[in-house]
């Protein structure tokens, strides 16, 4: 990775995605995580148990907000209603940071509820950079943009995803959320070298890392977040930490969610790997 200046804030440590099945664990006793990530949309509701629980857990843990519906790459005006709900949630939560994905989720008032890939070309880059600027102005802070998993490449693309992300981050002056599993999934689906991807990103803008599991279909891989992190992704994570330095890292699990203890032990593996990756070579 280019050894550029560090714009990302120092790592607050290791975290997990907060999921409702684990509410009782977090409410009952302190858990060994330095922060928690919420899916913003799950708390863009008026009240009741989600908001009450969030307030209680927020009193004990720093929180980062991770959105799935910003649709930063849609070629149409941003959804002001969504943005104002996002800002209201940020005002309530006072998150460490706010993230969403390099993707689009819908167009013309129709929504796929999926992180759809973009063509990587100059007009799309302009659209994304402009939209990130508008969002950052509105929220009054830099946002993090995450690399997505994808299953198609557009014929219109004329550059790699990492080149697109690198130029986007510089031009929009935003931060990056590096999903190591997504790099692995997309590398398998599109046939690129994950290390080319890692070394093409501006390391100083990477503020968070996601780790997750996927479903290997043989010919292709689907980003399902329903399994443990695989060995190839752990290896890639160690490479990423060695290149970038300490970065806030968490495990994403959205389906077939195990007891909290299982995720904490996976997170322990991340802590150990990161520690080993940061030790000076040759001691």
């Amino acid at each position: 990775m280019p050894q550029d200046q560090r714009i990302a804030i120092p790592s607050p440590g290791f975290g997990l995605g907060l999921r409702p099945v684990h509410y009782p664990d977090f409410l009952a006793r302190p858990q060994p995580v330095e922060w928690l990530e919420i899916i913003s949309e799950n708390y863009m509701v008026p009240g009741g148990r989600p908001m009450a629980t969030l307030d209680r857990i927020r009193a004990d843990y720093p929180i980062v907000m991770h959105g799935v519906s910003l649709s930063i790459g849609s070629d149409e005006p941003l959804d002001r209603t969504y943005l104002s709900a996002l800002k209201a949630l940020a005002d309530r939560v006072d998150p460490l940071w706010i993230s969403d994905h390099l993707c689009w989720t819908g167009i013309n008032a129709h929504n796929s509820h999926d992180l759809l890939p973009l063509p990587y070309d100059a007009p799309t880059l302009q659209c994304v950079v402009d939209n990130i600027g508008r969002v950052q102005d509105y929220l009054g802070r830099r946002i993090l943009i995450e690399n997505p998993s994808s299953y198609v490449s557009f014929r219109a693309s004329d550059r790699s995803e990492w080149d697109f992300l690198a130029e986007m981050a510089e031009r929009a002056d935003c931060l990056l959320l590096l999903d190591v599993n997504n790099i692995y999934v997309s590398a398998r689906n599109h046939g690129f070298d994950p290390l080319d991807y890692l070394s093409g990103l501006p390391a100083g803008r990477i503020q968070q890392i996601h780790l997750a599991g996927h479903s290997d279909m043989g010919d292709y891989v689907i980003d399902t977040h329903d399994a443990a992190v695989c060995d190839a992704v752990w290896d890639l994570y160690a490479r990423a930490i060695a290149m970038v330095g300490p970065v806030a890292t968490m495990i994403e699990r959205d389906d077939d969610i195990p007891p909290l203890a299982a995720l904490l032990s996976e997170l322990e593996r991340a802590r150990k790997l990161a520690q080993a990756a940061l030790e000076p070579v040759g001691g």
Binding site: G47, D75, A109, S112, H113, L116, P119, R155, Y220
Partner: protein, 262 residues
């Protein structure tokens, strides 16, 4: 010139949401997976996430119908109702009406769907401080004339079938009773008490009174109305019992609080 991004996105989304539309020409083809299968992954994700969220929102209807029949209805609904909501939480609002339209002979299905949806609404509806004995005491003489409202979580549903009993049996994991048409329609109150959604069937007098409260009636208004209908002592006794229950359940708020939060 290459397609504008907007045109690419419209075409790609149409291909995901409907099976007829084609977007393969936009995609790099390959011998290993192929453009058609690659788009198919997104098409499948879309259908699976929407039918999945319907199964989640309409949990008891799903249990009643079973996977196959519920899946069939959910697929048809997703085809007929492409998502136009940004937050998946709000997808499925039209399912009860869709079912009523397609299964007019099986009225209990739409009623179960309405009850599931109302309970989902109650779960995360707006917070508001319900009236309790202490709050009424603070109001003093203003209480009887104060305009009332139902808690933002509250909904009244009219049932023509024993759907409330079906729901409760399904919730308890028991075999539901046989479907029966009620001798007279019964209203059900759905609301949230603390953080927990609840529902209960209402006698006609309570339902009618709650409808009036929903329109902003005061305690004086509902008393006057009831006294017109039944003998005064009975009316006052009935109202005292109803009020005690509403206060215990957290069903009422002051109308000016409702105005402040909406």
């Amino acid at each position: 010139m290459a397609d504008a991004l907007y045109a690419i996105q419209q075409r790609f989304l149409a291909a995901i949401m409907g099976e007829d539309a084609d977007a393969e020409a936009l995609i790099v083809d390959d011998a290993r997976v192929g453009a058609a299968r690659r788009i198919g992954i997104y098409r499948n994700n879309y259908r699976a996430s929407l039918t999945g969220v319907l199964a989640d929102h309409f949990e008891r209807l799903h249990a009643y119908l079973g996977d196959a029949q519920f899946g069939h209805i959910a697929d048809a609904y997703v085809k007929a109702h492409p998502s136009t909501t940004r937050n998946l939480r709000y997808y499925g609002a039209a399912l009860p009406g869709f079912i009523a339209h397609h299964f007019p002979e099986d009225g209990e299905l739409a009623e179960l769907a309405r009850l599931d949806w109302a309970l989902r609404h109650a779960f995360d509806a707006l917070d508001a401080s319900p009236l309790d004995a202490g709050a009424i005491g603070m109001l003093g003489e203003q209480w009887v004339g104060a305009s009332l409202a139902l808690h933002p979580s509250a909904r009244l549903l009219t049932m023509h079938h024993n759907s409330a009993a079906l729901w409760s049996a399904l919730d308890a994991g028991e075999a539901p009773p046989a479907v029966a048409v009620l001798a007279a329609p019964v209203d059900v109150l759905v609301w949230r008490s603390g953080l927990q959604p609840h529902f209960r069937s209402l006698a006609a007098v309570e339902a009618a009174t709650l409808v009036r409260i929903g329109r902003g009636a005061s305690f004086a208004d509902i008393s006057a109305h009831l006294v017109n209908e039944v003998e005064e002592a009975t009316a006052m006794e009935t109202l005292a019992a109803l009020l005690a229950r509403w206060l215990a359940d957290g069903v009422l708020i002051l109308a000016d609080q409702a105005a402040a939060v909406t």
